[in-house]
């Protein structure tokens, strides 16, 4: 029983990682007042970039860099549309998602001729799992040793980066000048402007950080969790991350727990597929798949606290004419 739990939790960590990175990405963007429903597309683009470059160069790090590059380009398109051009941010996000699906499929086929996949990564093209010190030795120790060696140890570097990004984000947001300004611009851009701060540049920086984190999330999918890019491999994870962001009420600590919860649901669903739960019977896997969305809707309905987005989110900033 305990071992099953460890296994489920272990896969929870793996499944939560891309959600967490994308969720934090969305957090930076939306805290600055730029709504982003294009997380999915940026992740997908990054996964493709990472998979392609990882395959060609045989270097996971170059792959990661490429993934981040792709996500940042898409983020800049979103920024240009919604910050500079003051376009509709939802529409822009939808466009980014389409572009990512289409371009990854099209270029994947053109370059690799494998129906949109990238070929399996060569050695060094993939981030390998890292065994923490003493993991082997401690694996015999009951409970604590198992937790250490099975649950905490043996993940790839991006997993650790994702979880390290949580306190880092908290620190940036609440303990730095940049964070103060970021939070302010998402609430009242006019206040930021009159304080002599460049609203446009501030928002662009937020959008770029969003791109970097989406890049990590996407690269995780194609060159850490799997060994190569598969067509449409994000499969809605960007939207679950968005749901988690709302669920977390736009706070970094909450974001981690929301992503772990949604990852856990996913892990349980995989585990329980086709199995009977005593007293309940077989729970359809689709129920678990839908649960994150259902929970978020319930939250939005105001039944579990109230999710209040940053006040200026979604509204382009325009100096008012007197």
């Amino acid at each position: 029983m305990f071992e099953t739990l460890i296994l489920i939790l272990d896969s929870t960590v793996r499944l939560s990682t891309p959600l967490l990175l994308a969720c934090l990405a969305g957090l930076y963007s939306e805290r600055s007042g730029v709504v982003d429903i294009g997380l999915e597309g940026k992740m997908l683009g990054a996964a493709f970039g990472a998979g392609a470059v990882g395959y060609i160069t045989g270097s996971a790090w170059l792959g990661l860099l490429a993934g981040i590059g792709v996500a940042c380009v898409l983020a800049l398109i979103h920024g240009f549309a919604s910050i500079t051009n003051r376009g509709n941010q939802i529409v822009s996000g939808v466009a980014i998602n389409f572009l990512a699906i289409g371009l990854t499929g099209l270029l994947g086929q053109t370059w690799f001729q494998q129906g949109g996949r990238t070929p399996a990564l060569p050695d060094g093209g993939r981030f390998e799992n890292i065994n923490l010190p003493l993991a082997e030795t401690l694996s015999g120790v009951p409970v604590i040793g198992q937790i250490y060696s099975e649950l905490l140890s043996g993940h790839n570097i991006i997993v650790y980066m994702a979880f390290a990004a949580v306190p880092l984000t908290w620190w940036v947001l609440f303990r730095t000048r940049f964070g103060l300004r970021l939070r302010a611009v998402g609430e009242n851009p006019a206040a930021v402007d009159t304080a002599g701060i460049d609203v446009i540049w501030l928002r662009y920086r937020a959008v770029l950080i969003c791109g970097i984190l989406c890049g990590l999330a996407g690269a995780y999918l194609s060159i850490a969790q799997s060994s190569g890019f598969i067509k449409e491999m994000t499969a809605g994870k960007g939207f679950i991350a968005l749901a988690a962001l709302i669920f977390a009420k736009w706070r970094p600590g909450n974001a981690m727990f929301a992503c772990l919860l949604f990852g856990f649901l996913d892990a349980v669903a995989i585990r329980l597929q086709g199995q009977e739960i005593p007293g309940i019977g077989e729970v359809p896997v689709q129920f678990f798949q839908a649960l994150p969305y259902i929970l978020t809707v319930i939250l939005l309905a105001g039944f579990i606290g109230k999710a209040i987005p940053p006040k200026a989110s979604g509204i382009p900033y325009l100096k008012e004419r007197t």
């Binding site: 303990r175 103060l180 402007d193 009159t194 304080a195 002599g196």
Partner: protein
């Protein structure tokens, strides 16, 4: 041209804190600032007065780097400067308190004060030193406020104080205040004036933008008058009078004489009893209000903006909910708390409503004129044929109104946003008056409206009265109330604090509006 300044002059006259030369600013076809010259003496309180839309705010926004002037020079402390953004303005020692506060509601006072002047990337260090500096400023300028309070929990007066602290924290030597008393209670306004005196005594320069003559007379040393984008005069406050300033502001003698005969009121058409209203912040804004309006009279509600008049009008119109209160319209009793009627139902009871803010409420500016001519009355069967709206008929009726109210350009198909302020107001007025309402609510009928249209609008309102209708007029312009109303109710802090006849003394009304009860001065 740059006049050469002799050394003697330099010694005798203090260097001006600000000098503007031939400032011009256009927004598309609108010439908001025309060849503006201005000299502001250091260590003085300099008022700039003008009607809404005279270009005061635009000018100050140019000075604060929010807009850049199309032409002209700005001199700060005698040096010619360019102010491309607010950052530059701040570095030149210019601070601004905006009409709508530039504060982040869910931030603390301290966070708001340091925003943009954090003093380093690490926030903790900056916040700690800012806390000490804030304490010093509090003591020096008597500006008490809890640094850890959230803005959204502070009353408006204190929020404004935070804005002043923000400017001082950035080392402002010149402080611009844009219509600072618009949102303040008289007591808060008095307190603000005391603060401004302290600032002046400490050597700061204050620029006070307002359209209220009383404030100019009370606090400023010098006053400049703007009218329609131009700077028309500058006077020493001690050497001018309210009437002179008023004349300069509007370009002619100001007490708008409305041609009207004494009212002959008959039966009550609107009666309000024991009305209490709470706003969305949970603050009670209308308190125990009772009054009536009779057919054939204009009842004016005077008061400083934000004393519950807006909420009173909206509650009567059915837009807002009341905590308690009963309303009788044309004899029918309506319990405003238990069985309130919505705006459509109130209209069916022949209540017209010209709202205070035509852009926000009275019009859908995206619509063509003819569509706005039925807004709120679109369910009237005369506009429908079967299931569908009778567009041809609506246009025809709209054309009639356009002719009758001299709305220009006379085109019912034109988008409403493309009409001038005065013509937009006429569209609203025509719509509401032409339904021949038993009771008409009118809020700020001439705000942002040109002189010609003001006269026209006043005439129409009086005509409606003479046709035996009851009119409830709310205006923050005391002159308007005095020239239109047959009876004047004064509202202060949500209560009706007095009733006067139309020929009441202006000073007495002013005292009532300021919440000072009692005898005439």
């Amino acid at each position: 041209m740059n006049k050469p300044i002799t050394t003697q002059e330099l010694e005798t006259t203090a260097q001006p804190a600000i000098e503007l030369r031939k400032i011009n600013k256009r927004f598309g076809p609108v010439h908001a600032n025309k060849d503006i010259d201005l000299l502001v003496k250091k260590g003085s309180i300099h008022g700039i007065i003008g009607e809404n839309g005279a270009g005061k705010s635009t000018l100050m926004s140019i000075l604060y780097g929010f807009y850049t002037a199309d032409e002209g020079d700005i001199l700060v402390d005698g040096k010619k400067v360019a102010i491309p953004d607010s950052k530059t303005a701040i570095s030149l020692g210019i601070g601004m308190v905006h009409q709508h506060f530039m504060l982040v509601d869910n931030f603390s006072v301290l966070e708001n004060v340091v925003l943009g002047a954090e003093g380093g990337a690490n926030l903790s260090v900056g916040l700690a030193s800012a806390r000490a500096e804030l304490k010093r400023l509090e003591d020096e300028y008597e500006l008490k406020v809890d640094p850890d309070a959230l803005i959204e929990e502070l009353p408006v007066g204190l929020q404004q104080r935070v804005e002043i602290l923000k400017a001082l924290f950035r080392g402002a030597e010149i402080l611009i205040l844009d219509e600072p008393t618009g949102v303040l209670t008289p007591a808060e306004a008095d307190h603000l004036f005391k603060i401004l005196e302290v600032l002046k005594n400490q050597g700061k320069t204050v620029l006070l933008i307002t359209h209220k003559l009383r404030e100019i007379m009370a606090i400023t040393d010098t006053v400049s008058v703007m009218r329609r984008g131009e700077m028309v005069a500058t006077r020493q406050t001690s050497e001018t009078s309210m009437s002179e300033l008023a004349e300069l502001m509007v370009g002619r003698s100001v007490l708008l004489n409305v041609d009207k005969t004494p009212a002959t009121p008959t039966n009550k058409v609107l009666e309000i009893s024991n009305l209490n209203v709470t706003d969305s912040r949970g603050v009670r804004v209308v308190k125990d209000v009772s009054f009536n309006v009779r057919a054939g009279e204009i009842v004016g509600i005077a008061g400083v903006s934000g004393n519950g008049q807006s909420e009173l009008l909206e509650t009567i119109a059915g837009i807002r909910h009341a905590d308690t209160g009963t309303l009788w319209i044309d004899g029918e009793e309506i319990d405003l708390a238990k069985n309130p009627l919505d705006p459509a139902q109130m209209r069916q009871r022949s209540l017209g409503h010209v709202p205070e803010d035509r852009h926000r409420m009275g019009l859908v500016t995206k619509f063509a004129e003819y569509e706005n001519s039925i807004l709120g009355y679109h369910n009237d069967p005369i506009y429908s044929r079967g299931l569908l709206l009778d567009i041809a008929k609506i246009k025809e009726l709209a054309s009639g109104e356009i002719e009758k109210y001299d709305i220009r350009p006379p085109n019912p198909l034109l988008k409403t946003a493309n009409f001038s302020g005065g013509n937009q107001q006429k569209i609203v007025l025509a719509r509401e008056i032409e339904r021949d309402p038993t009771v008409l609510l009118v809020g700020q009928p001439t705000r942002g409206v040109d002189i010609g249209a003001i006269e026209f609008i006043h005439k129409r309102i009086v005509e409606l009265r003479d046709a035996g209708k009851g009119i409830l007029l709310v205006s923050v312009e005391l002159d308007e109330i005095r020239s239109l109303a047959d009876r004047i109710l004064v509202m202060f802090d949500g209560k009706i604090v007095g009733e006067r006849t139309a020929d009441a003394d202006e000073g007495e009304l002013g005292l009532l509006m300021a919440g000072v009860e009692g005898e005439t001065k």
